[in-house]
Symmetry: C2
Amino acid sequence: MKKLINDKERFLSDMLDGLKHRDPAIEVIEGTVVVRKDRKKKGVALVSGGGSGHEPAHAGYVAQGMLDAAVCGEVFTSPTPDKVLSAIKAVDNGDGVLLVIKNYSGDVMNFEMAQEMAEAEGHRVASVVVRDDVAIDNEEQRRGVAGTVLVHKYAGYLAEQGVPLDDIVKKVQEMMTSLYSIGMALHPCLVPTTGEYGFDLSEDEMEIGIGIHGEKGISREKSKTVDKIVDRLLDELFKYTDSSQMILMINGMGATPESELSIVTKYVMEAMDQRGVKVSKLLVGDYMTALDMQGFSLTVLDGEDEVITAIEADTGSKYF
Amino acid sequence: MKKLINDKERFLSDMLDGLKHRDPAIEVIEGTVVVRKDRKKKGVALVSGGGSGHEPAHAGYVAQGMLDAAVCGEVFTSPTPDKVLSAIKAVDNGDGVLLVIKNYSGDVMNFEMAQEMAEAEGHRVASVVVRDDVAIDNEEQRRGVAGTVLVHKYAGYLAEQGVPLDDIVKKVQEMMTSLYSIGMALHPCLVPTTGEYGFDLSEDEMEIGIGIHGEKGISREKSKTVDKIVDRLLDELFKYTDSSQMILMINGMGATPESELSIVTKYVMEAMDQRGVKVSKLLVGDYMTALDMQGFSLTVLDGEDEVITAIEADTGSKYF
């Protein structure tokens, strides 16, 4: 298996060791919990996390104005409740803790179990579950994908502003009602723990509606030019929204070169214009990846003023 | 060919159209010259460029504190002298222009021809040629690779400080005497204009000493764990330098996931420590890529105080 790793059993610990060199402002407690060295003294603390393989999510967002802690599981594997509990205890300054959970059964179960354990120890904890992936039509079953990073940013901004926990939850719930994503891949990712590709695609095929764990999409189709791929994805998103102004995130899946992300950007912006939608804020880059998958996802969000202000606010994260 | 493109003939123009959306502070003149909308009113202006395919180099560095213009050729193809001349004329504010040229015969010929043409029109122009790639032992023939971005940053800082053209040239020449890079790849890049991979590697092979245009390396070897790959590359670099303190850049080749760059970072930092070298400044990311090549390069530079200050100085580029 050709990966820049030393030992698949040490993928996570080696990665976090390297991350400490890259970002001297973070530290790692209990082996897998990334926290800011300089903990916040007041305001709601934000905890997120999940399996690894989505870098820079989530550890790259542990920074002023975004997350206070990221709980890192092994590749595509939920972290255990005791680690989530450790994160909560490390960052709670008395103003409460918000857990941002992507909608996967393991994550939801383990984060909510940690929430109960923390509450039993006297911590005030709330949680929100992100379900932005419209590849799955059933809302309850929708996965949390790239839109999760926008939740980090919005909630992180509100916490910086001193908004109380209950109000942050309400505002984030409201924001998530218009948060929709869908992704595609030209090449699957190679999962280091198994040495296997998530799926096989022939030279003229692409996968529409992929997940971020190497899962197959909802539809295997002949690969097309970018303008047609973009239209295909936007058709899916516009089943759920008819806003005339949107925040737009174009997210690289990990191994998509910058040049191709720029080409995608051109055609997405043209298509939005043709559909009469004004893009009030554009974000392009690798925000929520699936290891070395080649492809991209589109995330749209209704752009109210406060959300745009939050997204534009300074953060200590170099990835946002 | 599976790439996120619409038409290989429009790779460059589509990419620049997308880039304009991503960075509203830039504009594109004559189809291929990226300049800051808000031109610098005084101080030496910096122009670089070359073939495309190295994104974010060079257009991503057109920003306050780095480049004033990037002249973009087609994929892996030098821009023509008339475009370089247009860039010089667009950014010269009377304090002179510095051309930063990577050492490839086409780039050197075309940039130097543009320099002569500009001088004939009364512009004061100087140029430096970056030759940091020690995969090629002969110094005159060494290619310009990731170290070029450090030249942009250092020269850009000096220009911001109001240092005159001749002095910037002297300082950059001095800095480049200790600038060394070498790269490796696990997977070649797919060149969109030809639909071909730069080279073929079997599942257990890697290429040491690759270039940034899909060129083969100097040695094809059995792929190894990261610690051994790092040692192999550092052995090459340490033939040229014996400093005890270095600036270090770990550069992703375009499709190397963030997770693997972090793992590489761990082992490079351990190896530097074992070799008794203090890393005075660490940079990790995709700075100078080769489309969707998977691999990385290491660049070292003697860290004098002014160079470190320059590298740490604020820049408007989101890529540095």
